[in-house]
């Protein structure tokens, strides 16, 4: 059986950045539409079984109901049997269950934070991220139909995954040698002492930014490194930069439509697998992939490490092109 999983986060794309920047709004009914398009595209290209994460808005149930009423649903679609709490823990749990079921690929609707949660629950199954969040570096703005086709190609094994999938980097955060948490794109260290509205947007409080990848066009805090140094997913290193030190000012797009003048020093290269100690002399919070998560206290010592333990990411265009070359779209 060719199986795919779908995880759609009903909470993505609604945070405070709609007030402080001009961030995109994706309502939950559009997420249902995207899920329907993924189902239709994947069933039309050979997928036989689909598993969907249950959520508080019943995105999966509503997609099934609509496609049943329109008599378009041919494939077997199942909602995972699990408790729903309406938190990121649901996503982590669903990703783990999908890995256990043996799905061939997981399509994820959300932002960087959602993809981070999927990566926490699964490290073996390739993922396709569709951006329905805010400042998205990791998931891309791709049409659900295209994502569904790419998922189908992976499930049907109609491409060379060595060429079309990338084993990503991640930032690992340790305290006393215990892995506390991870980030896929960036870890931002801020002097704010509470989690509050979770999203981080105020650069005034930021002390340091640590990244796996950096590019000026990847909207968000990783651009603070990206405007000085581009780091691709192929590079076997990440970097960190300190804010409000040095003499050089750079303009960086830290949020959608938000260009800020920021004083930064020369990025420090962080080699894969090497631990870097951070000793704090202030209370603050670490934001992981844009969300304030880890509160720390003055005097505490943490270690950050860039590794290749991140998720397996599907390069959607390469995957589809590779499948086209070997006749994937030719009628049987």
């Amino acid at each position: 059986m060719k199986k795919i999983g779908i995880i759609a986060n009903p909470a993505s794309g609604k945070d405070i950045r709609r007030l402080v920047s001009h961030a995109t709004v994706v309502d939950n009914n559009e997420k249902i539409n995207i899920v329907k398009r993924i189902i239709l595209a994947s069933q039309g290209t050979g997928v036989e079984e689909i598993y969907i994460m249950p959520d508080t808005f019943l995105i999966g149930h509503k997609a099934i109901e609509d496609l049943t009423l329109s008599k378009e649903l041919k494939v077997s679609v199942n909602i995972l049997k699990m408790d729903v709490h309406g938190t990121l823990a649901d996503t982590i749990r669903a990703a783990k269950l999908m890995e256990d079921i043996g799905v061939d690929v997981i399509v994820v609707l959300g932002g960087d934070g959602t993809l981070r949660a999927v990566a926490k629950g699964n490290s073996k199954v390739p993922i396709i991220g569709i951006s329905t969040g805010t400042n998205n570096v990791y998931p891309k703005m791709i049409e659900g139909t295209v994502a569904g086709m790419a998922a189908s190609v992976i499930a049907m094994n109609m491409c060379d995954k060595n060429n079309t999938c990338i084993k990503d980097k991640r930032i690992e955060i340790y305290k006393n040698s215990n892995l506390l948490d991870i980030a896929l794109v960036d870890c931002v260290i801020s002097r704010q002492t509470f989690v509050g509205s979770k999203a981080i947007w105020d650069e005034q409080d930021i002390v340091k930014v640590i990244v796996t990848n950096a590019h000026p066009a990847a909207i968000g805090f990783s651009t603070i490194v990206g405007v000085r140094k581009i780091i691709t997913d192929a590079d076997d290193f990440g970097a960190s930069v300190n804010l409000n030190v040095g003499d050089d000012y750079y303009v960086a797009p830290i949020a959608a439509g938000t260009m800020k003048l920021i004083r930064i020093d020369e990025p420090e290269i962080l080699k894969i697998g090497e631990g870097y100690k951070i000793e704090f002399n202030f209370n603050g919070v670490m934001a992981l992939d844009g969300e304030r998560e880890l509160i720390f206290k003055s005097g505490e010592i943490y270690e950050v490490k860039i590794t290749r333990n991140g998720p397996i990411r599907v390069d959607v265009m390469k995957t589809i092109e590779s499948a086209q070359e070997i006749g994937f779209f030719k009628s049987k």
Binding site: P10, A11, K14, D15, I16, R18, L19, V20, V25, D27, N28, N29, T56, F57, L58, H85, Q192, T193, F194, V195, G196, S197, K198, D202, D205, N283
Partner: protein, 327 residues
């Protein structure tokens, strides 16, 4: 973000005062001291507090049938509130309005409101007034999830948007419109989604986290004061009691109640303050004792206040014109 320890302690004091007032109102209602309907705000204190902590005294608020928290957070006097609940002459409405009609124009409190959604129009009018008078006052409009199906919600957002009025629409989504779960009366989960239809920003925040509410309200209020128009903030929260005192709330699943009780905004803030050495347990007890004393004094004030005289029954109800007609 500018949020010092004094402000955090001030917000805790407000939240605790609301909780203490409501716990006493619940007890007094059960004892038969308070008559009529009482809808309590227990569990939702972070919303009113986090929003009003960003308002000035000359700013406005509009409230709902569940209004005690909003009025306390905007600086309402608990003595006159309690006297109103007791139906005494010293109350905010001279004892003739009760819980659902408390107003204090001197503090910009444009009234609790027994009609679901009716505060939204008043808030829009207050915003229009501020704009026409050329002031930088704003109006925070509190309402529940159930009211967002009313025409008033859509009319108000539409007008506030097209006229760029300084109104902050604050939805307290406590999951239930009376006893009906939101999923049974709306085809959306996030009321903030409705902001798109009116071309205003809509955000969702954890309404049980004082910092999340404070941050979002601060940004929305600044936006309104700067002439950029209205915003919609949806605060996900939960009322610990039934819709009204006496409602056993059997429609709420036990697991749901337990999950939300674990997210009670007051213990969350206490933990944060203790953890960050903002105040000691002794200082916390001192604040709690002061609040407890203030509420006790308010009850005593209410109990010792006179009933409204019988001849005042039609005062403040009919206009002079009607009075003439009656003659």
């Amino acid at each position: 973000m500018d949020l010092n320890n004094n402000k955090i302690i001030e917000m805790y004091t407000t939240m605790k005062k609301i909780r203490e007032f409501e716990n006493n109102a619940s007890k007094l209602f059960a004892e038969g001291q308070i008559h009529g309907f009482v809808h309590l705000y227990i569990g939702e204190e972070a919303v009113a507090t986090g929003v009003c902590a960003n308002l000035r005294e000359d700013d406005y608020i509009t409230s709902t049938h569940r209004g005690h928290g909003h009025i306390i957070a905007k600086g309402g006097d608990v003595k006159y509130m309690m006297a109103e609940l007791y139906g005494r002459e010293t109350g905010y409405c001279k004892g003739k309005g009760g819980s659902m009609h408390i107003a204090d124009a001197t503090r910009g409190i444009l009234g609790a409101n027994g009609i679901v959604g009716a505060g939204q129009n008043i808030a829009t009018g207050a915003g229009l007034s501020a704009k026409l008078r050329g002031t930088d006052q704003v109006c925070a409009c509190f309402f529940g999830d159930g009211s967002t199906n009313q025409g008033t919600f859509h009319e108000s957002l539409n007008l506030a948007s097209i006229w760029r009025l300084p109104v902050i629409f604050v939805c307290e989504n406590n999951l239930y419109g009376i006893s009906m779960h939101q999923s049974r009366h709306q085809a959306i989960q996030d009321i903030a989604d409705r902001a798109v239809a009116y071309n205003i920003p809509g955000v969702v925040v954890d309404g049980n986290d004082i910092f999340a509410v404070y941050e979002a309200a601060k940004e929305a209020i600044e936006r309104a004061r700067n002439g950029q128009g209205p915003s919609l903030i949806e605060c996900k929260t939960y009322r610990h009691h039934g819709h009204f005192e006496g409602d056993p709330a059997k429609y709420k699943p036990a697991e749901e109640v337990a999950e939300w009780m674990s997210k009670d905004p007051i213990p969350r803030l206490i933990n944060y303050m203790i953890d960050n050495n903002i105040l000691s347990k002794e200082e916390l007890t001192e604040i709690d004792n002061t609040i407890s004393k203030e509420i006790k004094e308010a009850i005593k004030f209410a109990e010792e206040s006179p009933w409204p005289p019988i001849e005042s029954v039609v005062e403040d109800i009919y206009t002079d014109i009607v009075e003439e007609v009656r003659k």
